[in-house]
């Protein structure tokens, strides 16, 4: 049954490819093709879910061999990246669950997105995301998981910017993607360290080799993967991106931030259980960050009045608790928690629009009594602990200013030192100058100078040329007479003699020798 595993991500990927090409070349657009697009998407995602279920069943029945290898994707020296998948353990389990959730989301979206301008685009991204997330979950090596990880992040960007003509959506999408890149960078360092310390990027090998790593090495690798997981699952201090990510259409929010993608971080940590067990520091970090996020998101959730944001705050609480459980070593509990939460939150987010419909006109619930008593706590919660502003203040703005300074440095200092060629400066730059030149009024007398240079080299050349010119002017041109001719001839003769000497091989060799000596 192992070979089935390859179809689980490839089916939605094929659908994404078809839809993508179709959109690009305008093969399908408009309402009449909606059923075709949604048909392709629903069929492939459902098939992929059924296959994932089959794989899971086969795993339960003990029919899987554990992995499926398709060959080498890339090889450089001992750094070899295979295309392999796992068919046992947590991977297929989560894949089956995610598959079902995605199929439900796709089915839901068909009606929800009907007659939307970006209908086809939406399904393209959703199928691409399904492929990516299944690849992430099922891949047997770190690079494969990373590929899914990053493409899922890209899909998230594309769906947040779904209504790209709204500036807010575009801003949030950019911010979310750039934040996610930090996690991706940590993931890449994790891959590099795994290769450097354990000489393997295969998850299974890495986990079995974990016992042989020194605590320091294990901590290094675990730390990197933990940071990657924190970013993806929106733990502190990266939590604010999750609240910005709700710009996308509701079904996509359900798939990405309610149920599927936000759990990828927890999944990664669960996958690397033996590695984390090796490092007390990493475990402690999981527990602390998880607990802190849970408390943070709980306080945040108290003041949310919007259904989506309050659900997302609740999601953060739960993922925080999952990390906390992982940190305490309750791996079994964490993975059950993950699965249960995927289902519940997915349902809640999908049901949110109907809920809004039903509660229309109901009075708004008063604020929580604890918060009502403490004015300060209320403000803190409402302002989301100023975390976003703090990140802005500490990182975004300084980098922006640095970049501004560097641009100035580049344009006004480096470029000036290198200089620009003379004709540019003597060229006519305005109509007024042109008129001036036409009537012969040379008001800017400087431009009469012939040899002008800019930049370091240009200025040097200008000064030297001025010097030589002065010399020539004073001594050669003015002093030119009979004596000068005789002197010139004499100099010429001795120069000839000198040249004859110097062209003899021994002098030539000597000359090269001296040059070499001087050079060092």
């Amino acid at each position: 049954m192992d070979a089935l595993v390859i179809l689980i991500p490839l089916l939605p990927l094929g659908a994404a490819l078809m839809l993508g090409l179709g959109i690009l070349f305008d093969w399908w657009s408009g309402e009449e093709k909606e059923s075709l697009t949604s048909g392709i998407a629903l069929w492939t995602v459902t098939m992929s879910a059924l296959l994932a279920l089959t794989l899971f069943g086969a795993d339960l029945a003990g029919k899987n061999r554990g992995s499926f290898n398709l060959g080498t994707w890339l090889q450089s020296d001992t750094f070899e990246i295979p295309v392999n998948f796992v068919t046992q353990g947590i991977g297929p389990r989560v894949a089956a669950l995610f598959g079902i959730m995605l199929a439900i989301v796709v089915r839901f979206s068909i009606n929800y997105m009907h007659r939307e301008a970006g209908f086809h685009r939406f399904f393209f991204v959703l199928t691409l995301f399904s492929a990516a997330i299944q690849w992430l979950v099922l891949s047997g090596n770190a690079v494969g998981t990373f590929a899914g990880w990053e493409v899922a992040g890209l899909c998230s960007y594309l769906l947040i910017a779904y209504a790209y003509d709204r500036p807010a959506a575009a801003v949030n999408a950019t911010r979310v993607f750039v934040t996610n890149r930090i996690g991706d960078a940590a993931f890449i360092i994790g891959i590099g360290l795994s290769y450097a310390y354990a000489e393997s990027i295969d998850w299974m090998k890495l986990n079995t080799l974990a016992a042989q790593l020194s605590p320091g090495e294990a901590t290094g690798i675990a730390f990197c993967f933990a940071v990657a997981a924190f970013v993806k699952s929106a733990q502190l201090p990266f939590t604010p991106w999750l609240l910005r990510a709700l710009e996308g259409p509701t079904p996509s929010s359900a798939a990405f931030y309610g149920s599927v993608m936000v759990h990828a971080g927890v999944f990664l940590v669960c996958l690397l259980e033996p590695l984390f067990e090796m490092s007390a520091f990493a475990m402690g970090m999981l527990a602390v960050v998880g607990l802190a996020t849970a408390i943070y998101a709980y306080l945040l959730g108290l003041t949310q009045t919007d259904v989506k944001t309050s659900l997302i705050a609740a999601t953060s609480v739960q993922t925080g608790l999952m990390f906390f459980e992982c940190g305490l070593g309750l791996w079994q509990l964490a993975s059950w928690h993950l699965c249960a939460h995927v289902v519940v939150r997915g349902y809640q987010l999908l049901a949110a629009p109907s809920l809004m419909h039903n509660v229309l006109g109901n009075p708004v619930k008063p604020v929580n009594s604890v918060l009502a008593r403490s004015y300060r706590l209320y403000t803190v919660s409402l302002q989301r602990f100023w975390l976003d502003s703090a990140i802005d203040y500490l990182f975004v703005r300084p980098i922006g200013r640095l970049s501004h300074d560097l641009r100035y440095f580049d344009d006004y200092i480096i470029d000036r030192i290198l200089g620009s060629p003379a004709p540019a400066m003597r060229a006519i730059s305005s109509l007024a100058q042109y008129e001036e030149q036409k009537i012969g009024a040379r008001l800017n007398n400087e431009s009469d100078l012939f040899a002008q240079g800019s930049g370091l080299a240009g200025k040097l050349a200008e000064w030297i040329s001025a010097l030589i010119h002065a010399f020539e002017d004073r001594f050669m041109l003015r002093g030119y007479g009979k004596n000068a001719t005789i002197l010139g001839r004499r100099i010429g003769r001795s120069a000839n003699r000198f040249e004859a000497y110097i062209l003899r091989p021994r002098y030539l060799v000597l000359f090269i020798f001296i040059t070499l000596l001087v050079a060092f």
């Binding site: 690009l24 493409v151 960007y157 003509d165 801003v171 750039v178 590099g192 980098i399 970049s403 290198l418």
Partner: protein, 519 residues
């Protein structure tokens, strides 16, 4: 297949050069265009045949070698050959020229014949740069690239300062050329010293010979830095980089696309700069790495502030070169393979983005972001392709940028971890500058009536981008196809650096053919 005797490389060089003359002589513009296209197509086919017949298992050895005496007295030869380092650059530069010809099919109004001729001539000369194995021949081709580029920038540039930009480019390049020439002469004289020969009978300019000639430590350091300066100017590495943004702003986009796509400077560093001074390279690899990291971060930070698409691309390309240098400085297989891969990627991603900038400029008359706002609504197809190439530049899995960047970062992590972290900070910054530009230029409400009336990509333009797009995806999904062609060459390159020729020179003399018996 008696491929060995067939002068493929000479054909690659001389076909476009002759074609340039022929096209220049054809009176009828349409015929000239089709003629130029046919020659570029023929060139591409020839280059592809060269790749197909290329034996990748022996990619460390020079293949398609041509050896003729040229300037006998100084032992300068007409010596051509390709190995795994350069083989893929031939079809890519042929393809790039072909697509550039197509991209400018209707947009060149003034002196169109001359434009076609110059593009073809530049193609032939570039082929010469990639295949020349004699230092002097290489230098000749290297400097010969300047006249066509000078005219291509100066005559068909789109900015008001195009003449100045052309001048600036040429002067800066000549400056680099001086350093290069000096290094070449030092090497040739050193060879004379090493075999205790006489000048000019024992001067050597052939690269394989110079690679096996031992250098004294002092001389080697000098050669290393001279070569690095010579190539850094072309690459470009700061502080010699300001010509690139200027050319991007003033020059025509097709010209800039060729300049950013064909990284002659980086090729020079890989082919000549590092191998000719192996001990210094190993000794100073940290310098190289730091220069790379600084370039990477510097380029990215400056790019963050750019409001013009073309300038942004120029700085992005500088930043990408920094990553290549970081990878090269780590002196391991992943580094060199990633660098060679990235060199291939450039000719696809960077050129495609620059051509897209050209398409926008051709329609809108500007690539400033305030003029572009909301382009996605009007030109969804162009935006789609833009996203593909931009994501390739960011190294998203599935595109060709990913395997190359992964290799480069892993290489840096295993040798200089701090540089790798700088590289990853650069990756975060690259997402920031590309996406914030995307947000302002492509997303948001449509900026103006001018944008609203823009015409979507035409079939000719669409097909150009499709070719690039197919390459981006296929290189990204099957990177081993490319790595396979270069593997043996990369291994040989690395071995040469880590085990340089013996210093004492005693056993060296016996390896060389006797000066008397050589013709």
């Amino acid at each position: 297949m008696n491929a060995a005797e067939f002068p493929v490389l000479s054909i690659l060089i001389w076909l476009p050069l002759l074609g340039a003359i022929i096209v220049g002589c054809i009176r009828n513009l349409k015929a000239a265009k089709w003629g130029a296209l046919a020659i570029a197509g023929l060139e591409l086919v020839t280059a592809l045949l060269a790749v197909i017949w290329f034996q990748s298992e022996n990619s460390n050895e020079l293949q398609w070698v041509e050896h003729h005496a040229w300037i006998d007295r100084l032992n300068i030869e007409y010596f051509l050959g390709v190995d795994g380092v350069s083989i893929l650059l031939l079809p890519l530069s042929a393809l790039l020229t072909l697509l550039t010809l197509l991209a400018t099919w209707n947009s060149v109004q003034r002196l169109p014949h001359f434009h076609l001729s110059l593009l073809l001539a530049l193609e032939g000369i570039t082929m010469g740069v990639f295949t020349a194995m004699d230092m002097m021949l290489f230098f000749l081709f290297w400097e010969l690239t300047l006249p066509p580029i000078f005219f291509l920038i100066g005559l068909w540039g789109i900015g008001p300062g195009r003449r100045a930009a052309a001048m600036k480019y040429t002067l800066v390049m000549l400056f680099g050329g001086v350093a290069l020439l000096f290094a070449i002469i030092l090497l040739a004289f050193n060879h004379v010293d090493a075999i205790h020969g006489t000048i000019p009978d024992d001067l050597a300019f052939s690269l394989p010979v110079l690679l096996t000639t031992p250098l004294s430590a002092h001389l080697e350091t000098a050669v290393f830095f001279l070569l690095m300066v010579g190539f850094a100017v072309k690459a470009p590495l700061p502080p010699f980089h300001t010509w690139l943004p200027t050319v991007a702003m003033e020059g025509s986009t097709q010209m800039t696309s060729l300049l950013t796509g064909l990284k002659l400077g980086v090729y020079g560093i890989i082919r000549f700069g590092m191998p000719l001074a192996p001990t210094s390279t190993v000794e100073y690899n940290w310098t190289l790495g730091i220069i790379g990291a600084v370039t990477l971060i510097y380029g990215a930070l400056v790019a963050l502030q750019q409001s013009n698409f073309r300038r942004l691309l120029a700085y992005a390309s500088i930043s990408h070169i920094g990553l290549i240098i970081v990878g090269l400085s780590s002196l391991n297989m992943q580094g060199i393979q990633g660098a060679l891969f990235q060199l291939v990627n450039f000719s696809v991603d960077a050129s495609a983005l620059m051509l897209i900038a050209g398409f926008i400029h051709h329609r809108l008359g500007s690539t400033e972001r305030i003029h572009m706002g909301g382009l996605a609504k009007v030109m969804p197809r162009l935006t789609g392709f833009y996203f593909l190439f931009m994501l390739a530049g960011l190294g998203i899995p599935g595109t060709n940028g990913f395997p190359a960047e992964l290799l480069l970062v892993v290489s840096a992590l295993t040798s200089h971890p701090s540089l790798a972290i700088a590289a990853l900070a650069g990756a975060v910054l690259s997402a920031a500058y590309m996406l914030s530009f995307t947000r302002r230029a492509f997303m948001g409400p449509t900026a103006s009536a001018a944008v609203r009336q823009l015409q979507e990509l035409r079939p000719r333009e669409l097909s150009i981008l499709c070719v690039f797009g197919a390459l981006v995806i296929s290189f990204g999904l099957w990177p081993d196809v490319i790595l396979e062609k270069q593997r043996a060459a990369a291994e040989a390159w690395l071995n040469h650096l880590l085990e340089p020729p013996a210093m004492d020179g005693t056993d060296f003399d016996s390896n060389l053919p006797n000066p008397e018996t050589r013709e």
